[in-house]
């Protein structure tokens, strides 16, 4: 059974009289442990696709099976629960809560999972240590560099042991050095913890860290192939 399977997913936005097809019959399968880069120009539908895979949005038609379960008919709270337990998000703009310490940011998913306070802080501290931020638990986002902030976001996506991480242009706001460090972290998480990583990027060298590259154009998948460079590196 595939970890993620989409069957002819379509997403249509209606803007007044105009019908805009963001996604056209996308059928894809993603196995556990894959490291996928989704590429494509702006408006190609890659973000829409990821929002649907991330259970933030619902397809207009088609089926989306996550671990074999159709999530298309779930209500808001059921989707929230799936996001909480199965999915971690890393955004371009970091999306950390300001005026909240790194530790408390990482604790949030556990808070919504209803864990007691002591276990929350222990697991959050462990997650921060795993991304190399031990000792920065009490720093607020504005006291951290962009790369560190993004690693807090990764710790937050790891803390609930989610099997999948979605990263929407995670390096978009980072310099080259921080980008490289971040991609090394993703690679390590993928290799050591067998976490499925799906990231959106414009940049070919960022995509180069992945094992499989899916290219979108005008709401369709135009290319889906194994990353030869990555294979060569192995």
């Amino acid at each position: 059974m595939a970890l993620i399977e989409t069957q002819e997913i379509t997403k249509t936005y209606s803007l007044g009289d105009l019908e805009l097809n963001a996604l056209n019959n996308i059928s894809l399968g993603i196995e556990k442990g894959e490291f996928i880069a989704i590429m494509g120009p702006s408006g190609s539908g890659k973000s829409t696709f990821m929002n649907i895979l991330g259970c933030l949005d619902k397809p207009t038609s088609g089926r989306y099976l996550l671990e074999g379960i159709d999530v298309a008919h779930m209500n808001r709270d059921e989707l929230a629960s799936i996001r909480n337990k199965k999915i971690g998000f890393v955004f371009q703009g970091f999306n950390l809560l300001s005026r909240t310490s790194a530790l408390e940011n990482v604790e949030l998913p556990l808070l919504y999972d209803g864990l007691p306070g002591k276990e929350r802080s222990e697991r959050a501290a462990a997650a921060l240590a795993a991304v190399g931020l031990a000792g920065r638990e009490n720093h607020h986002p504005n006291q951290l560099s962009g790369g560190q902030q993004q690693r807090v976001a990764i710790a937050r996506s790891l803390v609930n042991n989610a099997p999948i991480i979605f990263a929407d242009e995670p390096t978009g706001n980072l310099d080259t050095k921080s980008s490289a460090e971040l991609m090394e972290l993703f690679t390590k998480l993928n290799a050591e913890s067998n976490i499925t990583i799906i990231l959106i990027t414009h940049e070919a060298d960022i995509a180069g860290y992945s094992k499989r590259i899916i290219k979108f154009r005008d709401g369709c998948v135009v290319n889906d192939e194994t990353n030869k460079r990555e294979q060569a590196r192995i």
Partner: protein
């Protein structure tokens, strides 16, 4: 699972970020609650004063006054006709089952002398029953005996004001005072009753009714009294007692017999009923004051709603992040309701303190009797909590229904 302590912490932090705004929002509730507390304190104080007066007067009281006399077409006012007698009082005691005690009264005012002190006061000629009718205990000494009343004894009971003015620190029991030059032996002192309206109830001397009739004030006919005080068996018996007294006196005074149309030559006044009406009036006033004050509490609640709506808009992105990582509808809703609740409850507590201070200041400056009852504190505290939940609900509901994607993209 909802984690209340953590949500509380999150809400508190959000409020602390905008200290000034939170404080101003609270101000509306503070003013509302303190207004409710103060107004209720004023109202409760007023109705308590009425109740105290009622208690000091004695309960279940009925007063019988002689009727109006008419001289050449001029009506002279209540009590001007001399129609009541000691015999009437005795008959009422004997024949009216709804009546507990009866005390006839023959009163007047006189100069009273003790040694080199003198004092002008009211003299009440009555029987020992008066103390029972008015629930009036003695601090010292003993009441009149029936023998003393029968034998026109020159004994008296002093009210506290009279005792203070004539005797200062000396124990008055056994001393001789002169009322209208007639010597009286003081046999007891009356307990303090306090003010009733503008009258000092303690500025009085009780003497046997026979003595008042024969030695002090005289009578138009033997046994005449100026009024009769009656205590009914119970509050429920008051109307029955009134009716029985009316019927008995009409019969004794030969009124309305043989088909004659004739006005009563006496009036029966239910004093307790009058006071109860006043008490009810005070309660209505308290309620009214409270209702007016709670309007400002309502306005404060609308202020909370306004700020919460602004807060939700400002924090759309935060809400989006929380939703993306698994916050359910109720988690978001709870967070904002708790914020509103904190605002209103802290505002409520501060308002209660200010309201209590305000009532104290009012009673000091204006001399009003104010009472902050625990009930009014509980009431306004829970009311402010309800305001928080009620006015916090819509903003919280709005926040919880945001689309996570739109919320995440919100700048």
């Amino acid at each position: 699972m909802i984690n209340i302590p953590s949500t509380l912490k999150v809400s508190l932090r959000a409020l602390l970020v905008n200290k000034m705004r939170s404080a101003l929002t609270m101000l509306g509730i503070v003013i509302g609650v303190s207004a409710v507390i103060t107004m209720l304190a004023v109202g409760t104080g007023a109705s308590q004063r009425v109740s105290e007066q009622m208690a000091s007067m004695g309960s279940n009281l009925i007063m019988i006054m002689p009727g109006t006399s008419t001289e050449g077409g001029v009506r002279m006012g209540a009590g001007t006709q001399s129609t009541l007698s000691v015999g009437d009082a005795e008959a009422i005691q004997k024949d009216c089952p709804a009546v507990l005690y009866v005390a006839p009264v023959h009163n007047g005012s006189a100069q009273v002398i003790y040694g080199n002190q003198n004092w002008f006061t009211s003299i009440t000629g009555t029987t020992a029953n008066m103390l029972l009718v008015r629930d009036w205990p003695l601090t010292e000494g003993r009441p009149f005996t029936d023998d003393e009343v029968r034998s026109v004894a020159r004994v008296c009971l002093l009210g506290q004001t009279v005792a203070d003015n004539l005797f200062g620190g000396i124990n008055p029991i056994g001393q001789i005072i002169r009322i209208k030059k007639v010597p009286f032996t003081v046999i007891g002192t009356l307990a303090i009753k306090g003010q009733r309206g503008h009258d000092d109830q303690d500025d009085t001397i009780h003497v046997p009714i026979t003595t008042a009739q024969k030695k002090l004030f005289g009578t138009a006919f033997p046994g005449m009294v100026r009024s009769i005080m009656v205590k009914a068996q119970s509050t429920e018996d008051l109307p029955a007692a009134e009716k029985q007294i009316g019927e008995l006196l009409r019969q004794r005074h030969h009124i309305g017999q043989q088909g004659q149309e004739q006005d009563d030559d006496f009036t029966v006044r239910n004093l307790t009923e009058t006071m109860q009406v006043a008490e009810q009036l005070m309660n209505v006033m308290t309620l009214l004051l409270g209702a007016i004050a709670s309007i400002s509490l309502l306005v404060g609640g609308i202020g909370i709603m306004n700020i919460m709506l602004v807060s939700v808009t400002e924090r759309t992105r935060e809400i989006g992040i929380r939703m993306a990582i698994g916050a359910k509808t109720r988690d978001i809703r709870l967070q904002f309701i708790i914020e509103a609740l904190i605002l209103s409850l802290i505002g409520g507590i501060v308002g209660i303190i200010i309201g209590m201070l305000g009532s104290k200041i009012l009673s000091m400056l204006a001399g009003w009797n104010t009472i902050v009852s625990p009930l009014s504190i509980l009431l306004s505290f829970s009311f402010s909590g309800m305001v928080g939940v009620f006015f916090g609900f819509y903003p919280a509901y709005k926040a919880s229904l945001l689309d996570p994607i739109d919320a995440l993209r919100y700048e």
